[in-house]
């Protein structure tokens, strides 16, 4: 019981802050906080794939695109309620995740990374090809748009829900199977774990999470889906966010999401370097720093703090998604 109390305590703090935030932040800053929620969902999804099954993807922006366009097109053509479109985006991205995950079973490591990178590069050309239905470079505009507080509320409510879903999933058999696949495929097979099924499942789940994030992302952009929104940079940002987050800790994912969500806003006004290149320079420098100093990301930092303080006071503290070593 004691082990769960700190976890609940941390969750309570985060929940309280999230509830209070829109009342103290300006409308515009609430809007920015919504974006952090959106990236939280995407990084959470990517974390399931890269952290838990050890498969690399530099292409999950593609699933955000799929989710985003699902929302825009359904709203434009059928005036579907935006929340309902998000459910469809989740489901549709899951299916595409399966379709991509199956052939990807043959690949691993660098080759899988290259395949996902190809996905990231090509996805923005799909609307250009099928421009009649997908709007081409002109984009697709939804029939309804929502305000800043709505976006904030829905993003973070979805983030909380999906975090709970991920936690439930990963603490059970599925999570153990994922970790087995990551740690040693041979041992996993020897233990009767169907690698193919679990790898594909991880792909599909992470794709679904990114699909939901993409759906919210388009809503966040005033319901306007455009190919340029889903360029390669988005997939790379997600990977950077996941690296900054580290494996599975709530604080880590929050940190990663805040990093990629807010840094562009902050670094655009860096003095000396200036508006044009501020983002690129600051982003690049920080990524290198994180890689050098915190190879395990924010979660690793917390882990190290924990080890350090355990030396003083033997307690486990961080709120984390179920981890193999602590079971």
């Amino acid at each position: 019981m004691r082990r769960h109390a700190p976890r609940l305590g941390s969750l309570a703090v985060v929940a309280a802050v999230l509830i209070v935030l829109p009342f103290v932040l300006s409308s515009y800053h609430t809007y920015l906080a919504a974006e952090v929620g959106i990236f939280f969902i995407a990084i959470l999804g990517l974390n399931i794939l890269t952290g838990y099954t050890g498969q690399i993807s530099i292409g999950h922006g593609a699933f955000m695109a799929i989710g985003g366009y699902t929302t825009a097109v359904m709203s434009r053509d059928h005036h579907t309620n935006l929340l309902v479109t998000m459910l469809f985006a989740f489901a549709f991205s899951f299916v595409v995740g399966v379709l991509f995950g199956l052939p990807a079973l043959r690949l691993s490591g660098v080759y899988l990374a290259l395949a996902t990178f190809a996905l990231a590069l090509s996805v923005q050309y799909v609307p250009l090809q099928w421009s009649t239905y997908l709007g081409g470079s002109g984009g697709v505009q939804s029939s309804t748009t929502e305000g800043n507080v709505w976006l904030y509320g829905v993003s973070w409510a979805t983030a909380a829900t999906l975090f709970a879903v991920a936690w439930l999933l990963l603490r059970g058999r599925v999570g153990r199977a994922f970790r087995a696949v990551r740690d040693s495929e041979i041992a996993a097979v020897a233990s009767g774990v169907e690698i193919g099924i679990y790898k594909t499942l991880a792909f599909a789940i992470s794709a679904a999470f990114c699909g939901a994030a993409g759906s919210l992302y388009v809503m966040w952009l005033n319901g306007f889906a455009q190919p340029q929104e889903f360029a390669v940079g988005l997939s790379l940002s997600l990977l950077v966010g996941a690296a900054v987050a580290g494996l599975g800790s709530l604080w880590g994912i929050l940190a990663g999401a805040a990093f990629i969500g807010l840094l562009p806003q902050v670094s655009a006004s860096v003095p000396v370097i200036g508006n044009q290149h501020g983002l690129d320079v600051v982003y690049g420098v920080l990524v290198v720093l994180v890689m050098l100093v915190l190879p395990e990301g924010f979660a690793g930092l917390l882990g190290r703090l924990r080890v350090f303080t355990q030396g003083l006071n033997r307690e486990s503290t961080a709120v984390k998604l179920p981890e193999s070593s602590s079971q």
């Binding site: 700190p6 103290v24 250009l128 709007g135 505009q141």
Partner: protein, 457 residues
């Protein structure tokens, strides 16, 4: 447990501190009219200050923003320092943000300008797709989306009536009273070329290279409309879809791909070549035309946003032979002999030189028409702001924008002589005149010919 409490406490403390800091900035006193104080007016706009990926040459237009900024600097300077002392006692503060010609960036930056910087109006933002992305938002919020740096017809058509005429559903179905363009619109320009072709080319077979999005489709529709019953002179034209596939390039196609399309149009038997593109692609198209030694008997027509002298010089440097290419203009030129003693051009030169920016000075000297365009638009903004009264509101400013009368004694000094900038309740396109010009290969500059045409609405 003690570690836990310490950590939680620290985090909670930090979050509360952040929240308080944010709240204090949020709680800044709201004026009754955002962006207007007793001594200043704050406006903002989005421009491609840097290239999107993949690059398409859009950042070549950034000199428009710098010219506008320079003009406001001149207006703000006190009278004894050679300025105008502001407008009704207020200086103009112009916030220019980079949107990399990417609509999602435009939306985010525009939202920042409106909700964080509390600007009075969005002025001069550049691009069709980019402004379409923010048109609904700005109109919902009642923020003027004024003097846009794009000639698409949507701004005029959508203003008061709303229109189903729009390739992007849901954008134009409701009237957009807070949106107004400035320059002559693209379909009108295309119609003028169509009429010229019908009058001067026998049995025209027109190959059209156009950007396959809202921007380019606008031009194509205008060309077809101008040809009337002869719309099938456009090679491969599908009237229902408003498309001509061979020349329809997508944003992001490489110069090589654009060149291939030019070759295809030549192979299709085109005797007239029309280019409705953005600078990077237009330069590539002209260069390919030169490389193929293709000289269509009916002539080559170039949209005026691609006809900036600096783009033409670049095209020549890339192997183009643009002598005889026809385009149009509606502003004065820095390099044309007819304006060598023009006082407005002298003033413009002074204003640009006063920025101290060596690159801008050089651009003026080689005839970057973006600079004159920027000065002209800024002049109209100041004109409208003056007429918005001593205590301008967004509504009074919009009213002034819809009753412009820059003609006669109040003519815009940077606009081509004889042309007016006029708007009214029914006239939602402020500029509707174009002067034809032809590229002279010996002087490497445009030479006006024929006359001023109406792009009529």
């Amino acid at each position: 447990m003690s570690i836990n409490r310490k950590k939680l406490g620290a985090v909670l403390g930090v979050m509360v501190a952040i929240a308080i800091a944010a709240a204090s900035t949020a709680g800044a006193a709201q004026q009754s009219t955002p962006g207007v104080t007793k001594t200043s007016v704050t406006i903002g706009g989005t421009f491609p200050l840097s290239e999107p990926s993949p690059p398409n040459g859009a950042s070549l237009y950034k000199t428009i923003a710098y010219a506008e900024e320079a003009y406001y600097g001149y207006v703000n300077a006190p009278k004894n320092k050679g300025g105008l002392g502001g407008v009704n006692g207020r200086t103009i503060n112009d916030i220019i943000l980079d949107d990399q010609y990417t609509p999602s960036e435009t939306f985010a930056k525009t939202k920042q300008l409106v909700e964080s910087d509390h600007v009075f109006a969005i002025v001069g933002s550049l691009g069709t797709a980019t402004n379409l992305a923010t048109m609904g938002y700005l109109n919902n919020k009642g923020v003027p989306q004024a003097l846009l740096a794009t000639g698409d017809a949507y701004w005029g058509l959508c203003a008061l009536k709303g229109s189903a005429f729009h390739p992007i559903k849901n954008v134009c179905t409701k009237p957009k009273p807070w949106t107004e363009g400035w320059q002559p619109d693209y379909p009108g320009e295309a119609q003028i070329y169509a009429k010229y072709i019908l009058a001067h080319v026998s049995h025209p077979k027109i190959g059209v290279l156009y950007q396959n999005d809202a921007y380019g489709q606008n031009y194509l529709a205008g060309l077809a409309q101008g040809l009337g019953s002869h719309y099938s002179d456009i090679i491969g034209y599908n009237k229902k879809k408003n498309s001509a596939p061979d020349g329809a390039y997508s944003v992001g196609e490489s110069n090589a791909q654009i060149g291939a399309r030019v070759g295809k149009l030549e192979a299709d038997g085109a005797n007239t070549f029309v280019i409705f593109a953005t600078p990077g692609s237009s330069i590539a198209a002209l260069a390919t035309e030169g490389a193929l030694h293709w000289t269509p008997s009916g002539g080559t027509f170039l949209n005026n946003v691609s006809a900036n002298r600096i783009f033409m010089l670049t095209a020549e440097g890339s192997g183009a032979h643009p002598a005889g290419v026809i385009s149009s203009t509606y502003i004065k030129s820095q390099t044309a002999s007819q304006f060598q003693n023009d006082p407005a051009m002298a003033l413009g030169k002074q204003i640009i030189y006063a920025t101290g920016n060596a690159a801008l000075k050089h651009e003026w000297d080689i005839g970057d028409s973006n600079l004159v365009y920027g000065l002209a638009v800024a002049w109209t903004f100041v004109d409208a702001l003056k007429h918005a009264g001593n205590n301008p509101t967004r509504a009074s400013f919009m009213k002034a924008l819809r009753s412009l009368n820059e003609s006669g004694a109040n003519k815009n000094p940077f606009v081509y002589p004889g042309m007016v900038v006029k708007s009214s309740a029914s006239r939602t396109f402020p500029m509707q005149q174009l002067q034809l010009e032809k590229w002279d290969g010996t002087t490497h500059d445009w030479k006006t010919f024929s006359g001023i045409y109406n792009s009529g609405h």
